[in-house]
């Protein structure tokens, strides 16, 4: 099965890290990513720019509305994701628990709908 691991965290926590802390976190993410590439669980993944750079698009009555920022204010923001291949939910949550961001925020594990 495929699972999307959505990495949520409070952005201000990220933004207030010292350069050393930030570099250490990035190195941990790098090592984690390499480990799931090696174990053949990795399908894809990216870090996202913070919500200040987000744009929301809606179409209502055929009109496109483009607005600044995310649709809803939340305490934790989506900061990145991995798409993984795992045999079952237990394996997927074990991988999610190893994401360095799990110690700061939370990881939402969403199974991908198999089409066709």
């Amino acid at each position: 099965m495929q699972y999307l691991l959505l990495i949520y965290a409070n952005e201000s926590q990220w933004n207030t890290m010292t350069p050393d802390q930030g570099a250490k976190m990035m190195a941990e993410f790098g090592a984690f990513t390499q480990s799931i590439i090696d174990s053949k669980n990795y399908v894809g993944g990216n870090r996202l720019h913070d919500i200040a750079k987000a744009t929301t698009v809606r179409v209502r009555d055929g009109k496109t509305l483009v607005t600044d920022g995310p649709f809803a204010e939340t305490k934790e923001q989506l900061g990145g994701y991995y798409l993984i291949e795992a045999p079952d939910l237990d394996e997927a949550t074990a991988i999610a628990a190893r994401i360095p961001g799990a110690r700061l925020g939370s990881i939402e594990v969403r199974p991908i709908v198999q089409m066709g």
């Binding site: 699972y3 795992a86 237990d90 594990v109 199974p111």
Partner: protein, 413 residues
């Protein structure tokens, strides 16, 4: 005829969980497994009264359910979830189809896979409870709905959603890995204990849930004899349940432990509970075993005055170290009041209240009220009963508190 119906009922209760558990492994689907098992039991109900119960009812039921499942698979136009229908049919045709080899504990029984899956942490507790009662215990959706006082449709939805989540989220059908076992077992035991307490606090039909929980714990003990907390939980439930006949009036009013007619206590349950509690404590005490030990001290006492209260306080100290909780502190305070006097108990309750613990829990003012009453401080005791009454929602609790309050108001004049 009546005897055969009773036997079939017994066989249903004994075999349902085992048959469904095996069918889920073979079919990879809770729904298909339940359907096939249901059809097999329906056929038994039809045939056995005339033809007699077969020599090996379990083998008959499993083989019939297998055939029903094969029929169902053949009828199915499209196989979902990428499972291979041909393989499932081959597995079904082999009575000894082995479970896949996994790096798990050497648990043989499919019922263990089933209960760990039903109590998977990715399901919410309500869903865990409902699914366990439906699949492992064989209660119908209506029976579970009645026991939990929710509409049948709501309970049906809850079960459907839980099964959909197991399927779509890929919750595996297996016993947990060794390193996850303590946490996963704790979730299973919590479900069993919730079922027990639901029955213990209920009147009438709901009380069957306590029996169901004890039966579940017996199954768990048979499957995991090496786990002291399984033993401890079974001991705790047996000892609590031994007081069933003594703890309520005919009209459903509570009778406190100190006022109970102890000759009504079920001595067989007590004997079994005591022996289990002892062996649980010897092999590795956990919170359930310690609570069982506390219940055992009560069971040993011929009346409330002769209870070894210092021993109970000491056991609560042990429990608090294992599982810090304001509810345990409250119970400890009540035991302190009995062993060292109500002034000492009140001091502990004050500390709890000052820390802002249990703000909406009626048993905190109720405990205070009881201690003040024992000290003959009628007016503050009456006020504390009023506070408790304002928080209590359960009808028997409210009746008990109102009765006490009326007695005190008469005294306070």
């Amino acid at each position: 005829m009546a005897e055969e119906e009773r036997s079939l009922e017994q066989i249903y209760r004994d075999e349902w969980g085992r048959i469904v558990a095996t069918l889920i492994r073979l079919l990879g689907s809770f729904d298909l497994a339940e359907e096939a098992a249901q059809q097999a039991f329906a056929l038994a109900l039809e045939q056995w009264p005339q033809q007699g119960i077969p020599a090996n009812p379990r083998a008959w039921l499993i083989s019939t359910a297998r055939h029903k499942a094969i029929d169902a698979l053949r009828r199915k136009q499209r196989w979902e979830d990428g499972n291979d229908p041909e393989k499932a049919m081959r597995d079904l045709a082999q009575p000894t189809a082995p479970a896949s080899e996994e790096e798990t504990l050497p648990f043989e029984d499919d019922r263990l896979r089933l209960i760990f899956t039903c109590c998977h942490p990715a399901l919410n507790t309500e869903a865990q409870v409902a699914l366990t009662l439906r699949t492992l215990c064989g209660l119908t959706t209506d029976q579970i709905a009645q026991a939990f006082l929710v509409p049948s449709a709501t309970m049906g939805q809850r079960l459907v959603r839980a099964k959909q989540k197991i399927r779509d989220a890929g919750i595996p059908y297996r016993t947990p890995q060794l390193q996850d076992l303590p946490e996963r077992l704790a979730a299973v035991l919590l479900v069993v204990y919730l079922v027990f307490n639901e029955g213990y606090n209920a009147a009438g039909e709901g009380r069957a849930l306590s029996e169901e929980a004890i039966r579940l714990a017996r199954i768990l003990l048979e499957l995991m004899p090496q786990e002291p907390e399984v033993r401890g939980l079974l001991a705790l439930m047996l000892l609590n349940d031994s007081r069933r006949a003594a703890r309520q009036t005919e009209s459903g009013d509570r009778i406190l432990l100190e006022d109970q007619d102890r000759s009504l206590w079920d001595q067989a349950r007590i004997a079994e509970g005591l022996s289990l509690a002892e062996s649980a404590l010897r092999t590795g005490p956990g919170p359930y075993s310690v609570q069982a030990a506390i219940a055992a001290v009560h069971a040993h006492a011929t009346n409330a005055a002769q209870t070894d209260w210092p021993q109970i306080v000491a056991l609560y100290d042990v429990l608090l170290r294992m599982q810090p909780s304001p509810v345990v502190e409250l119970n400890r305070a009540a035991a302190v009041a009995m062993s060292q006097g109500c002034e000492a108990g009140l001091l502990l309750l004050d500390q709890l209240a000052q820390r802002g613990e249990l703000p909406n829990y009626h048993l905190l003012p109720a405990a205070r009220a009881d201690m003040l009453r024992r000290l003959s401080r009628w007016t503050p005791a009456a006020q504390a009963y009023r506070d408790a009454l304002a928080l209590a929602t359960h009808e028997p609790d409210r009746r008990f508190l109102a009765k006490r309050l009326a007695e005190l108001e008469a005294k306070a004049g």
